[in-house]
């Protein structure tokens, strides 16, 4: 009895070893469905695992036709779905950015207008206060145009808002002349240059 048991154990051990090393052919379980190794799944599982690594078998003619048909359908679908310009997904709030940056630009422009207006007010006051030519102006002007300084007479001054300059009109031996007076952009807005324009 003991000998029979040892013999049976040896057979099982030998079969499972063969199965594990892939000795059994692929149709072993088909031919021997009632075999212990097949019923317990030892051989099948081993065959399955060997299938993965084995080279793929060539499909029959009907199978390959079926595969080609599927591939063609897939390609056709891809072609019809293809779009040359893919619209990117928008996550950032660009509407808000658009409005905020425009508001920033307007804010900066408004501040600039206010600053310019303040400067012009001060320059206008300066310009309107001119009642006569300072001696240094007369001296430089007469020297440049080689005229008698005493002949220079002040006729009036007006402020030009657009170019932020004071226009002073004079009459002299040189005739009627216009003198563009430029002021500093900071308080106390003193005059720093004169551009003479004679006809």
């Amino acid at each position: 009895m003991r000998l029979i048991l040892i013999f049976l154990t040896l057979i099982v051990f030998a079969k499972s070893s063969f199965a594990l090393f892939g000795v059994f052919d692929k149709d072993f379980c088909k031919n021997n469905p009632e075999d212990f190794l097949c019923s317990t799944g030892i051989v099948e599982s081993t065959q399955k695992s060997t299938k993965k690594t084995s080279t793929p078998t060539v499909p029959s003619s009907t199978q390959s036709n079926k595969n080609i048909k599927i591939n063609l359908t897939q390609t056709k679908t891809n072609v019809t779905e293809f779009k040359p310009l893919v619209k990117k997904q928008i996550k950032y709030d660009f509407d808000n950015l658009y409005n905020q940056i425009n508001a920033d630009i307007n804010e900066a422009a408004n501040k600039k207008i206010k600053k310019k207006s303040k400067e012009n007010d001060a320059k206008r006051t300066r310009c309107n206060s001119i009642k006569s030519f300072p001696f240094s102006w007369k001296k430089d002007f007469s020297k440049k145009y080689k005229i008698n300084a005493n002949s220079i007479k002040f006729l009036g001054a007006t402020f030009n808002e657009r170019i932020s300059l004071c226009s002073v009109i004079s009459s002299s031996d040189r005739g009627i002349c216009k003198h563009w007076v430029e002021y500093n952009n900071k308080a106390p807005y003193t005059a720093w240059g004169i551009l003479n324009e004679c006809k």
Binding site: K88, Q89, I90, K91, Y92, F94, D95, L97, Y98, Q100, I101, N102, A103, D104, I105, E107, A108
Partner: protein, 234 residues
């Protein structure tokens, strides 16, 4: 104290004082060599991060283009050559812009000085001293110029920059532009405003001038350099 003792004391004091001067200069030199710790306020860093995040979003979610005078195109091949466009070596009359979420933004480069710039309602100003010191802060604002209409056409006012490596310095309204993003057609007026010429748009990648586009991309950020002299006002 006799004369000899006085001489000894005097020479010793001279030696000690010279040694002290040497030591102090050495220390001063060492101090100079130490890397100065740059302190930037958190508010300034937050603005910088937001500016950079905005440009990143524009680049990621939109497309960046060049708009140029059509005279920059050397030859335009036929359909057989897959519509490849060749550009002249020196491209002039050009500016970059971004199209994102049907809105057109043009980067306008400006220096952040004492008078400051506005970013989302906050004022960022930098006291960087004289311009020649090299401590200036440059900022490129994504300036909105127009929105696409239902026909994918946008009209806006701008002016060309001289070279393809330049970012516009000011939003000038000298020239009118009309771009159709469906047909890729582009038309613009001359600064005189009389005649109309054809212009051309291309993506940065299609323009194939990597070093120049990289340079522009680098200027679309506000970097950390010189920001220690900046402050934020609400």
């Amino acid at each position: 104290m006799n004369v000899n003792n006085f001489k000894i004391v005097l020479s010793l004091s001279l030696l000690l004082s010279s040694a002290h001067i040497n030591a102090s200069l050495k220390d001063k030199f060492k101090e100079q060599k130490k890397p100065k710790k740059v302190v930037i306020s958190q508010e300034v860093l937050d603005i910088r991060d937001d500016i950079n995040k905005t440009w990143n979003a524009i680049r990621k979610e939109g497309n960046v283009y060049y708009l140029m005078h059509a005279k920059n195109i050397r030859t335009k091949s036929n359909r057989d050559k897959k519509g490849i466009v060749y550009y002249k070596q020196t491209v002039q009359q050009i500016f970059p812009f971004a199209l994102v979420d049907n809105k057109v933004f043009v980067p306008i480069s400006t220096y952040v000085g004492k008078s400051g710039i506005y970013w989302k309602g906050k004022k960022l100003s930098c006291d960087t001293g004289k311009f020649s010191s090299g401590r200036y802060v440059r900022f490129s604002r994504p300036t909105p110029v127009g929105k696409l209409n239902k026909d994918s056409i946008v009209n806006f006012k701008m002016r060309y920059e001289l070279y393809d490596s330049d970012i516009p310095q000011a939003l000038s309204s000298q020239q009118e532009f009309e771009v159709n993003f469906d047909t890729k057609e582009c038309f613009a007026t001359y600064p005189s405003g009389k005649d109309v010429h054809q212009c051309h748009i291309t993506t940065f990648s299609d323009f194939r001038r990597k070093e120049r586009t990289n340079r522009i991309y680098n200027e679309l950020y506000l970097n950390k350099k010189n920001l220690e002299n900046c402050k934020v006002e609400n």
